[in-house]
Symmetry: C2
């Protein structure tokens, strides 16, 4: 497939919203023992549950290293497509392709540069070259030409779009020093407009407290549909999350989207703070250059890290009293989709959640 020099906006391609129809979903199999405890075996079980669940609704492809190929193939359901793909870790949302479509059945992709959430400034591991090749390999599998940005760092989890001209990001992430500090905010916004083909970018100030991705939007807020945004929320003013969510609420409720609509915000209450246990910490290989997982560290737990697919919403739950509240709220917000709760503490322990480990391929129309 081709590497393209133009941009989606110039060529009439746009990133559709996640809630539009999918052709399928991609994931990456977890394995690195310096991020996933106990040789990644507990995580592999949960990733399997996520993949098998998604596969009930739409085609699912799990990408896996050769070393883990047979193990993954054996654990995943027969209906999951398993494809070899070298990787540095398993965050398909962030290193994977951002697919764009036009209105003539065309499918292409944006292949952003990936630097492990901050490169040599505050990235989470080194090297990350295998991850950076993931998007181009997906493009070959999906037979999609790609727009490659060699000079612009972005992860899929740091953007959301409503499919009608509006993108949403956080300043905490997109203006972080380890990404595109050679560009001004205005220049970064222009990149988003050109490559996602949007007219307006909503700049939420910060994401979830202690989120090692520098506050990805996908853990904080999501478009339920155009004009409606789900926002991670807490009423506890002593929680450092309170200020972050309050600021976001105030900002969003006073903004309009690309179509001029006022934005309605729906609060999704976070679980009580989730801390790493001693046993969990000790299960992770201690290796120089990767983020340590220490006992007592607070994890960036949020139900907003859910994944919307054809006829379903896969939502992480934590064994918290607020699980039921989140499920109920999401069912109200998505009346036509089945809510699929998955106990996802293991994914959270690795640094993200269900949305972070999935990437949709939109249906070309």
């Amino acid at each position: 497939m081709k590497k393209l020099d133009s941009c989606p906006k110039a060529d009439g391609y746009r990133m559709p919203a996640e809630f539009e129809e999918h052709a399928g979903t991609y994931m990456i199999w977890p394995e690195r023992p310096d991020n996933w405890r106990n040789g990644a075996k507990p995580a592999q079980k949960v990733f399997t549950e996520v993949a098998n669940t998604i596969g009930k609704y739409e085609p699912i492809t799990v990408c896996v290293s050769d070393a883990q190929y047979q193990n993954a193939r054996g654990m995943l359901a027969d209906y999951v497509r398993v494809v070899e793909m070298s990787n540095d870790d398993s965050w398909m949302r962030d290193c994977g392709a951002t697919f764009v479509i036009n209105d003539k059945g065309g499918l292409r992709a944006v292949d952003w540069s990936f630097n492990a959430w901050g490169g040599l400034v505050d990235g989470l591991y080194f090297p990350w070259d295998k991850d950076d090749r993931v998007a181009s390999k997906m493009c070959e599998l999906e037979q999609a030409d790609r727009y490659r940005l060699d000079d612009f760092i972005l992860e899929g989890g740091s953007i959301h779009v409503d499919g009608e001209g509006t993108a949403m990001v956080t300043e905490e992430c997109l203006l972080s020093e380890g990404r595109n500090s050679h560009l001004t905010k205005k220049e970064i916004e222009q990149k988003l407009k050109d490559y996602l083909n949007v007219e307006k970018v909503l700049w939420v100030h910060e994401g979830i407290y202690n989120d090692e991705t520098n506050g990805h939007i996908d853990n904080m807020a999501n478009f339920v549909r155009p004009g409606v945004i789900a926002l991670a929320w807490t009423d506890d003013k002593n929680d450092p999350q309170y200020k972050r969510s309050s600021e976001a609420l105030e900002y969003l409720e006073n903004e309009t989207d690309a179509k001029g609509r006022k934005i309605k915000v729906e609060k999704i209450y976070t679980p009580s703070p989730v801390l790493i246990t001693k046993e969990e910490s000790e299960g992770v290989d201690a290796v120089d250059g990767t983020l340590p997982r220490q006992e007592g560290d607070r994890l960036a737990a949020s139900y907003v890290n859910y994944y919307t697919g054809n006829g379903f919403v896969a939502v992480p739950v934590f064994g918290d009293p607020n699980d039921e509240l989140a499920i109920k709220k999401l069912q109200e917000l998505y009346p036509d989709r089945k809510i699929e709760p998955i106990y996802a503490r293991e994914i959270l322990l690795g640094g993200g959640n269900i949305h972070c480990i999935t990437q949709q391929v939109p249906k070309a129309k």
Copy 2:
């Protein structure tokens, strides 16, 4: 995709002939410097020519290690699909899946065990585990369930079928010590009948002289169509090939196929003996455990190692006076296909030729 416990014959699947319609072709990118001279760069150019040529006629997928991914993607034409796949070398015919179809649009595959042409007895390299995983990975890409034979060694280059109930092999290869010496000839024949779904197996005695595959049939003879076989030939009685070809001719002309047809043999004259030069020998890394490539060694050059695809025949040529003769003969035998000659000395230096580096996916009907 599923691993199946039954066999194609029991399930109504058969291996179609190579000259039947294809859905596409698979190849593997060459890279190992202990088999391909000068860091495989000259071979990569010829593999590129083969892939680009095939891609003009049918979908072509080139499988490549992560280490070579970007290099291969850059060298191959945009219309070639490039997919990551770990491998021990680049003989897709031999380690790849043998696809079978039924008459209801079904596509499955036979996944033979692969042991690098003789395993610890007289195999050509060690280890070969990556190669042995290639077929299962192809099955995922093609969405085909597979019949896996854990206890039966076979390479795709050691079999040909006419699509109407007849297979052709060599005794030299299929009865070799390094493959299935725990089985009798009759038991081996039964495996072929069960897994290729044929009624008759033609047992040519030997293949091409000095062929390191233990005389694969695909370098020696091929079905042009049911009842017609192309055979590598020489009139030089002093050439050790003469006895091999003469025996094959006599055997085949006195045999009938599964449908009871007498077999017509068409002679394809081999080129003059092709010997490894000093420069070629010195370009290959000397490594314990892989076959050395020594100056003066005779290579198993044969035009019969051609590949038949949708509307074309890709034939290796060697800069030999017999090149034109072979092209002319093949054009007579395949009047409706374009003959595509490719200068293929580099593939031959690695131990095979165009047929050895390709594997067809038949069109499900």
